[in-house]
């Protein structure tokens, strides 16, 4: 029996790897995507286009402006002198932030009256607007503290001392790249398994496999093992690039990481085979893979946190294996989370995997004849 399965596995690998185009699709795009997404998928901002509208020639206003000019987060794109100039700059997306210092700024400041600066932000991209406002507040805050020291204004009664654990500079890349490991592993595994039976059905070779002396379970295993192996190889390659290319700290141990990966892959292969047994044509197989992939990625916490979703959707995410893998990946990479703290992530994946494989076997048997 082992020999028969081995023969099927070898056949399956040959089909996938012998055709230069399908070999290319399995190997090259994931790494290109890793590079592109690793560099692009970031919520950090630099060079925010800033338009300055300063009506106050005083030294204090200039000092505040210097704070913006020296910041790596902002770059000056325009200096304006009239109110009417603001709208076209913001509407046309030339400037994201307009800083308006009124004519009475220095005088108010010297007279110890509250001096205001007006900040106009383009809110079309709400997250960028929020982050930009945070930077503006930070710069004004620093100006305030220096001014208070220099002019003997009593300090505020309490101040915040913020610090970030696990990612001290709050770099988005540290969050995104471990997530990409899970994302790409899922995409490749799904595509390999979801189309495998449908392709044979369309080409007519499936009938030949059926009349050969294989049991249905063996045929299914012959399809599952290549998916598992390719998924593991893909994940290992991506992890190497993440650690040595992107310099993401890998604090935890590999046993924990690979336990998670194997459990996840079993669940993913199960879903892929279910789609595969249901699909008659490759188009249906691809559509099925897609209808699973898109929600699985969105509802996994890959780009936006699960905690921000409405409660009923948070319940839905509980059946998504990617959700658990992402916690494991980020935990092992950034926090060095030990095995026992991740048990709550392991068992749901194992359960999902068992259910999926059982369902795939059942569907497969039913659709054979």
């Amino acid at each position: 029996m082992r020999r028969r399965i081995l023969a099927l596995v070898i056949k399956e690998f040959l089909v996938l790897l012998k055709d230069p185009r399908s070999r290319f699709v399995i190997i090259i795009p994931p790494f290109v995507q890793l590079l592109v997404f690793g560099f692009a998928a970031s919520f950090d901002l630099n060079d925010i286009p800033l338009a300055v509208y300063c009506e106050d020639p005083g030294a204090d206003a200039q000092e505040l402006l210097a704070g913006f000019r020296h910041s790596p987060h902002f770059s000056d794109v325009a200096v304006i002198a009239r109110d009417e100039e603001i709208r076209p700059l913001v509407d046309g997306r030339v400037a994201l932030v307009v800083l308006h210092i009124g004519p009475r700024f220095s005088r108010d400041l010297r007279l110890r009256r509250p001096a205001a600066v007006q900040v106009i932000v383009d809110g079309r991209d709400s997250n960028t607007a929020l982050v930009a406002l945070g930077y503006v507040r930070g710069i004004v805050d620093r100006f305030n503290r220096r001014w208070a020291e220099q002019h003997g204004v009593p300090a505020l009664p309490a101040r915040l001392q913020p610090r970030a654990w696990f990612n001290p500079n709050l770099e988005s890349r540290w969050f995104v790249v471990p997530g990409i490991v899970g994302l790409l592993t899922l995409v490749v595994t799904m595509l390999v398994t979801a189309l495998s039976v449908a392709r044979e059905r369309e080409q007519g070779t499936f009938d030949q496999t059926l009349v050969a002396p294989f049991r249905p379970g063996e045929i299914l295993l012959g399809k599952a093992i290549p998916g598992l192996v390719i998924g593991l190889a893909e994940a290992s390659g991506i992890i190497l690039v993440a650690v040595y290319g992107f310099r993401i700290p890998l604090l935890g141990d590999l046993t924990t990481l690979y336990t998670g990966l194997v459990l996840f892959l079993i669940a993913a292969v199960g879903i892929g085979l279910m789609i595969s047994s249901l699909a008659v044509t490759q188009q249906q197989g691809l559509l099925g893979a897609f209808l699973f992939l898109v929600p699985a990625i969105i509802l996994s916490g890959f780009a936006t946190p699960i905690a921000n979703m409405p409660p009923f959707l948070q319940q839905v995410t509980l059946v998504n294996p990617l959700r658990y893998l992402l916690v494991i990946l980020r935990g092992v990479f950034l926090e060095g989370t030990p095995f026992h703290l991740l048990l709550d992530q392991f068992w749901p994946m194992a359960l999902i995997g068992a259910v999926n494989l059982a369902a795939a076997t059942w569907l497969f048997r039913r659709r054979l004849y």
């Binding site: 692009a40 509250p114 600066v117 309490a158 929600p295 905690a307 979703m309 989370t337």
Partner: protein, 386 residues
């Protein structure tokens, strides 16, 4: 062997039958769409499912963030501070008495931040400058930064309240008056849902057409078509027209859902919106055709379609991540992604209105893209058998 040259020499009397041939092809394509329910699913079910999942599932607004509050020595002062925290919609404070408990909660992901008021809080406060220690979980950097910003807000409100109670207004030299245009509540849904339409249209346009033409090559029906007196451009048009109509249907559905279900304001004109989406749809259909012609195999065509159309539309279009913050080579790369121009137009049309300086350049880029991809498909699909 090229049959195209041969075809050109035919008498002009056949010209009249062209309209008829094209109609026949379009009819055939529609029949195929109707008979394979997965095409209808991509065009109408997918937009609804995606809009619902994205619209509800993708949110960058953190609320009820669990935060551990460690008060070393409870007093009236510390109670006033934690009361402000409890009143904030952004936080769900969990009162703890020891720092190591809080650290354990953070490691087990039960809280996303720790706020600690040290035992000397009240005393140091009177002489000025009592430190409030804040630790956020930085794994999710963006949420970490938002939480810091929210805490900043709580702290300022607490200071103002104290100032009012003591009769001495808060002495801050410079205050920032913030005005957010177009989306004053900074709701991420208003920003995400318009961009989402570009992603859905990419799926309908590129994925569906890529699969459909590759299928004809795989099944050999393309060869049968080539053997008929049909011209190449007629075959291409015969594919384009039905899927263009399907895509337009998906677009109307998406815009309706965005406005009615998600309440996203539509401040621009419908005419501009539909002109832009027509251009984008043509570009997406062109991409799909080109992919299928080059791949000629459904497995490869499907993969390539996902990798070069869907994922870039998701990550490199400005739909979620700001293009201006990407490294320079990637910013250049985004220029060849049609979704980038469409996302810019969509976000502006929905939230800001008809802004000529956004609509014209992006619309122009979209027309170039459409011409490029459709032209390349025409060039690549000679009447040849391999």
């Amino acid at each position: 062997m090229s049959l195209a040259a041969d075809h050109r020499t035919r008498s002009t009397s056949e010209r009249g039958s062209r309209g008829l041939r094209l109609r026949g092809l379009v009819r055939k394509e529609f029949l195929e769409i109707i008979r394979d329910p997965s095409s209808i699913a991509i065009a109408f079910l997918l937009p609804v499912v995606l809009l619902l999942i994205f619209g509800f599932g993708v949110s960058l607004d953190a609320e009820h963030v669990p935060i551990a509050v460690v008060v070393d020595q409870p007093s009236a002062e510390t109670a006033a501070f934690t009361a402000h925290l409890e009143r904030s919609p952004y936080f769900e404070p969990l009162l703890l008495f020891r720092m190591d408990e809080a650290e354990r909660a953070m490691r087990a992901r039960r809280v996303s931040a720790i706020l600690r008021l040290r035992s000397d809080f009240a005393r140091r406060r009177r002489i000025g400058g009592a430190p409030i220690q804040v630790i956020v979980n930085g794994v999710d950097a963006n949420t970490g930064r938002l939480v810091m910003g929210y805490l900043d807000g709580v702290w300022i409100r607490w200071l103002e309240q104290r100032g009012r109670d003591a009769g001495e207004p808060l002495d801050v030299p410079v205050s920032v008056q913030e005005r957010v245009w177009f989306n004053s509540e900074l709701e991420s849904r208003n920003f995400l849902v318009p961009g989402l339409i570009a992603i859905i249209m990419t799926l309908i346009g590129a994925l569906l057409t890529a699969m459909v033409m590759a299928r004809e090559w795989e099944r050999g029906t393309m060869e049968a078509l080539l053997a008929t007196p049909v011209a190449v451009w007629e075959i291409l048009l015969g594919k384009l027209i039905p899927y263009f109509l399907l895509g337009t249907g998906g677009m109307i559905l998406s815009v309706t859902l965005a406005v009615w279900l998600f309440g996203v304001p539509l401040r621009g004109s419908l005419a501009v919106l539909f002109a832009a989406s027509t251009l984008f749809l043509l570009a997406a259909l062109g991409m799909g055709m080109l992919i299928s012609i080059v791949a000629k195999n459904q497995f490869v065509a499907g993969q390539v379609a996902i990798i070069v159309t869907f994922l870039p539309a998701f990550i490199l279009s400005g739909f979620l991540f700001d293009i201006r913050s990407m490294p320079a080579p990637l910013q250049l790369l985004t220029h060849i992604i049609p979704a980038r121009y469409f996302v810019a137009i969509l976000q502006t049309e929905f939230l800001a209105g008809d802004v000529p300086s956004v609509v014209w350049p992006n619309g122009f880029a979209l027309s170039i893209m459409a011409l490029l991809f459709l032209g390349l498909s025409r060039l690549k699909s000679g009447k040849r058998l391999e």
